[in-house]
């Protein structure tokens, strides 16, 4: 239902844009910094924080504060006119209340953080003027997660001003099942296979858009480490917020998940140096979770060719899984989760980004986002990046 609404709204927007664009005049050359070379190096660091006010937001029995620091480096270079090599290295340091709680259990070693490293290596080949192919090898790891993956993609132009991209992603991961109390069940496999199609089209000289769809199949150990479900009743539990009367048991979700995602993105030049953009997305899966999001934005040259700003707003509505509930009592259902990220909530978020084109080949940006969730788990992030072309 939500996915249908998103696609229907996209149809209306694109139709109106195709009509309205005729009223504009073709302006002078666009305001765009000239490309400086065949090699690109990008460095970025992002700070992310989720706030659980006194532990009562989200899951009211457990603290869910999270802080993440994520640096990443991107390198891309043309080996020759038709071949591009790319590499992306990323690292996360996670500090979370769910990890901190493990120190309360004698079985846990006492680690208070989680460290992730990931590396993607890609190769893209322009076969001819209309067809391009590419592939990427993925590898990532952290203390309780190891991942290996392959991606393949093909892009072709079936008509003028149109491009279709098909891609397949295959991941074979291993998760060390770790319960809320730090005990482990050994390593279990988790497979994720995703098929994605994007269709891009220039609709008018001032409006272009792309429509995408992904289908994913996941199988294996799909629970989230450290997650717990609280069965209400019994004596006060000093490990719960406000020493709530409850007993923790582990989360249990199905070992199979089918996921559908759809998205539309469009941008309309309203006058020289200013464009409006709109994003619509819809999602539904076999666990009963569905969501719909709309994200309008505006980009504007504050100083032509030098300083660009983007402001955005995002609204997202999520309806939770069939296994989610705010309250559980013994005996627990076979499949159960109290993860607030799988539950129902609304999100309002505002974002701002500034890009400074320092000189041909150099750009620095700062971007941030504030989000307010109806379940109280507000979030904020701030990132900054440098991009060098030579």
């Amino acid at each position: 239902m939500l996915l249908t609404r998103a696609l229907a709204a996209a149809c209306v927007c694109l139709s109106l844009g195709a009509v309205g664009g005729r009223a504009q005049e073709v302006g002078p050359d666009p305001v765009a910094p000239a490309p400086a070379g065949d090699t690109v190096v990008g460095v970025r660091t992002t700070y992310y924080e989720q706030v659980d006010q006194g532990g009562r937001d989200g899951n009211p029995f457990l603290r869910e504060d999270v802080v993440v620091v994520e640096p990443a480096i991107l390198f891309s270079t043309k080996l020759d006119e038709d071949v591009t090599l790319s590499a992306l290295f990323s690292h996360d340091y996670v500090s979370a209340a769910s990890i901190d709680r493990l120190q309360n259990y004698p079985q846990q070693s006492g680690a208070s953080g989680d460290t992730y490293f990931g590396l993607d290596l890609g190769l893209d080949v322009q076969v001819d003027d209309e067809v391009a192919v590419g592939g990427t090898i993925h590898a990532a790891g952290e203390a309780d997660y190891a991942s290996g993956g392959l991606s393949g993609r093909v892009s072709f132009a079936p008509a003028p001003a149109t491009r279709v991209t098909l891609s397949i992603d295959v991941y074979h991961d291993y998760v060390r099942r770790t319960r809320f109390d730090g005990t482990t069940d050994g390593w279990s496999a988790r497979d994720t296979n995703t098929l994605t199609v994007w269709v891009y089209r220039a609709l008018t000289p001032w409006l272009h858009a792309e429509v995408g769809y992904s289908f994913s199949r996941q199988a294996g150990a799909l629970e989230t480490n450290f997650n717990a479900v609280v069965l209400e009743g019994g004596p006060p539990n000093p490990l719960l917020v406000d020493q709530f009367r409850g007993t923790e048991v582990e989360e249990d979700v199905p070992d199979h998940r089918l996921r559908h995602a759809g998205q539309v993105r469009a941008s309309l030049l309203v006058r020289r140096g200013t464009a409006l953009d709109l994003g619509l997305s819809g999602y539904a899966d076999s666990w009963g979770l569905s969501s719909f999001a709309v994200e309008p934005g505006v980009r504007h040259w504050l100083v032509d060719g030098v300083l660009l700003v983007r402001a955005s707003y995002r609204y997202m509505r999520q309806d939770g899984t069939d296994y989610s509930a705010d309250h559980f009592r013994a005996p627990p259902p076979y499949h159960r989760t109290q993860d607030p990220d799988l539950d129902s909530f609304d999100l309002h978020a505002v974002g701002l980004k500034l890009v400074w084109y320092v000189s041909p080949g150099w750009a620095i940006d700062v971007a941030g986002d504030l989000g307010w969730r109806s379940d109280g788990l507000d979030q904020r992030w701030l990132g900054s990046g440098v991009r060098w072309e030579f």
Partner: protein
């Protein structure tokens, strides 16, 4: 998704595609190359946003790997 929903989605997709049925000539696409018109953001920033969505929401984004290989938090 019901059969009616699937049919409506297909109609919507066709409608969206036909909305610009007259092809834009290559010489008329220069404004589309302006950074204000970009449909995709910085690749490192987009990667973070995709991962944040997969971690903090139940959904995944299109092209977001389906949450595989995710060091999610």
């Amino acid at each position: 998704m019901t059969r009616g929903g699937i049919q409506a989605s297909v109609v919507a997709l066709v409608c969206a595609a036909l909305a610009g049925c007259r092809a834009v000539d290559f010489t008329q696409q220069r404004d589309l190359a302006d950074p204000v018109m970009t449909l995709e953001g910085d690749p490192l920033e987009e990667r973070f946003r995709t991962k944040a969505t997969a971690s903090r929401e139940g959904a995944v984004t299109v092209g977001g790997r389906g949450a595989g290989g995710c060091g999610c938090y």
